[in-house]
């Protein structure tokens, strides 16, 4: 049984679509959140950022999104240095971040609207992705009329609608119940196969990371550093239920848990 684990931090591959180069982040008041992070995210792959709370994984994701400036270092997306949000990146928020005063259709179309897409085209694209995430029939509902899981589907449809190459997901399933979370994880695997996108997925759940990811970046806490990059070789063919019984899945979960245990207490 081989768990493809590398303890050494790899050089950032030159062909990676998202390249994080030597990024550090300190907050005023002396909190050192990230320390010299270098990671390359391969095109078309789903990479998880995994670590205990306080390891700066969300901070790193927001720096990649251009929502937070790095204190030093740079992020390059598609050969361009990031200086703010851009159309090639879309964000899925932990708390969904839906506009409560707007319908599902208007929420999904928000990104397109900001890009100046006309109303008719915007609604057509929005409807397509609302159907894609399984919410057809709910176009004219408002967020408070939907369950938590449905709200996150709206958040996902909004991110898909702008057809960005890179999807940044900040613990997207942590605010929904366990059954919904499992369904989401299965859907994410299917979505990944269907849409040729690069996913960067922040999670604190070891099982979730191993279940959905091509590659897992383990971060150590305070300050956040890359402690390990793991690429579990799990076949994600037709049967998504078989993944959780696959020996490599079980070994990888176990290996990560043993690695993370030392950071607790």
């Amino acid at each position: 049984m081989t768990v493809h684990a590398k303890t050494a931090v790899p050089e950032v591959a030159a062909d990676a679509i998202v390249q994080v180069r030597d990024v550090s982040k300190s907050y005023a008041g002396g909190v050192h959140a990230l320390d010299a992070i270098s990671i390359g995210f391969q095109r078309g792959r789903l990479t998880s950022l995994l670590g205990p709370s306080g390891c700066g994984k969300t901070t790193l994701l927001k720096i990649i999104a251009g929502l937070l400036p790095a204190t030093s270092g740079e992020v390059v997306v598609d050969r361009k240095v990031v200086s703010g949000p851009g159309p090639e990146r879309a964000f899925v928020f932990q708390d969904f971040a839906l506009m409560p005063w707007a319908s599902v259709l208007a929420n999904v179309g928000f990104g397109l609207e900001m890009r100046g897409v006309g109303k008719a085209e915007r609604e057509e694209i929005s409807r397509h992705y609302i159907t894609e995430v399984g919410l057809s029939g709910f176009e004219n509902k408002y967020p408070h009329e939907l369950s938590g899981g449905m709200r996150q589907r709206v958040g996902l449809a909004r991110a898909l609608a702008v057809r960005a190459d890179v999807l940044l997901m900040d613990e997207p399933f942590s605010a929904v119940d366990e059954q919904t979370r499992r369904k989401f994880q299965e859907d994410l695997i299917r979505l990944r196969e269907k849409e040729n996108k690069t996913f960067i997925f922040v999670t604190h759940s070891i099982e979730e990371a191993v279940y959905v990811s091509d590659s897992i970046v383990l971060l150590s806490p305070r300050p956040g550093r890359v402690s390990q990059v793991i690429a579990p070789d799990i076949p994600r063919g037709s049967d998504v239920d078989a993944i959780r019984r696959h020996p490599v899945y079980l070994d990888t979960v176990d290996a990560i848990w043993r690695g993370l245990k030392r950071y607790l207490d």
């Binding site: 927001k62 999104a65 251009g66 929502l67 703010g84 949000p85 851009g86 159309p87 990146r89 879309a90 964000f91 928020f93 932990q94 708390d95 971040a97 506009m99 409560p100 005063w101 707007a102 928000f110 990104g111 900001m114 890009r115 408002y142 967020p143 408070h144 909004r158 702008v162």
Partner: protein, 251 residues
């Protein structure tokens, strides 16, 4: 409330008080308090008179212009204060000061500066109405979930787009609450302005009826004004409830 097994509507209490007023008037408790029925008769008499209609028009104009300006200045200022620490530092102290100050004392100052005209009355309305609008709008902006703002920027919103598409709508429940309270204060402002500054509009009506002991007419004008202010506040409260559904789910 139920009485003898029957549901009593909320407004039924008004009937009780109306009856008490009528009785107090009929037994001549005080010449200041005529029976309610004669007040209603006076109301029917004075409403179509040119004196009343011109008073209503003058008052309504000052009231509407004052409120419109209070909203047009107060809402953007509140949005700005909620967003910018510098603007907040600059204005918050003054807004709070004016909110709690006895504003009536300031009206003569406005009178000296702007004369005995409609301008002074409009400014008095603004003086009474604007501060609570600013403060409530500011509170609304500060209650916005940070992720909603990040969402707007991550999808490419410009600061101006974020302002109108996110901040304004997210703060709308508080803005409407501020406008409702501002409008109630504006009613005070317009009447105090008219009474103190220039004896025009409703202020002149109260002055005339009061000084000539025309108590029926005095009460009739007062009841109309009270009913108007109450209806306005209730109408805005209804509007507020229509957007309240998302105030709780916002953060």
């Amino acid at each position: 409330m139920t009485l003898f097994g029957h549901r009593v509507p909320m407004l039924a209490s008004l009937l009780v008080w109306a009856a008490l007023w009528e009785i107090a008037g009929q037994v001549h408790l005080s010449f200041l308090l005529p029976p309610l029925s004669s007040v209603f008769i006076a109301m029917v008499e004075i409403v179509p008179t040119p004196t009343f209609l011109s008073a209503l028009w003058v008052t309504a104009k000052a009231f509407l212009i004052g409120n419109a300006l209070s909203i047009a200045i107060g809402v953007p200022l509140g949005l700005l204060m909620g967003r910018s620490a510098i603007a907040d530092r600059l204005f918050l102290l003054w807004v709070n000061l004016f909110l709690s100050a006895p504003l009536t004392a300031l009206v003569p100052v406005i009178m000296v500066l702007f004369g005995l005209g409609q301008t002074t009355i409009v400014l008095t309305v603004i003086l009474f109405a604007i501060w609570i609008i600013v403060l409530d709008t500011r509170a609304g902006v500060r209650a916005i979930a940070p992720s909603l703002v990040e969402m707007a920027f991550s999808f490419g919103a410009s600061p101006l787009q974020a302002f109108w598409r996110i901040y304004f709508w997210a703060a709308l429940p508080e803005i409407l609450a501020g406008v409702r309270l501002g409008v109630i204060r504006a009613v005070k402002g317009v009447i105090i302005g008219q009474l103190l500054v220039t004896i025009v509009g409703f202020g002149a009506l109260f002055q005339t009826y009061g000084s000539q002991f025309q108590m029926e007419e005095f009460w009739a004008a007062l009841v109309i004004l009270f009913a108007f202010a109450f209806a306005l506040a209730e109408g805005l409260a209804w509007l507020e409830r229509r957007v309240d559904y998302y105030a709780a789910s916002r953060s």
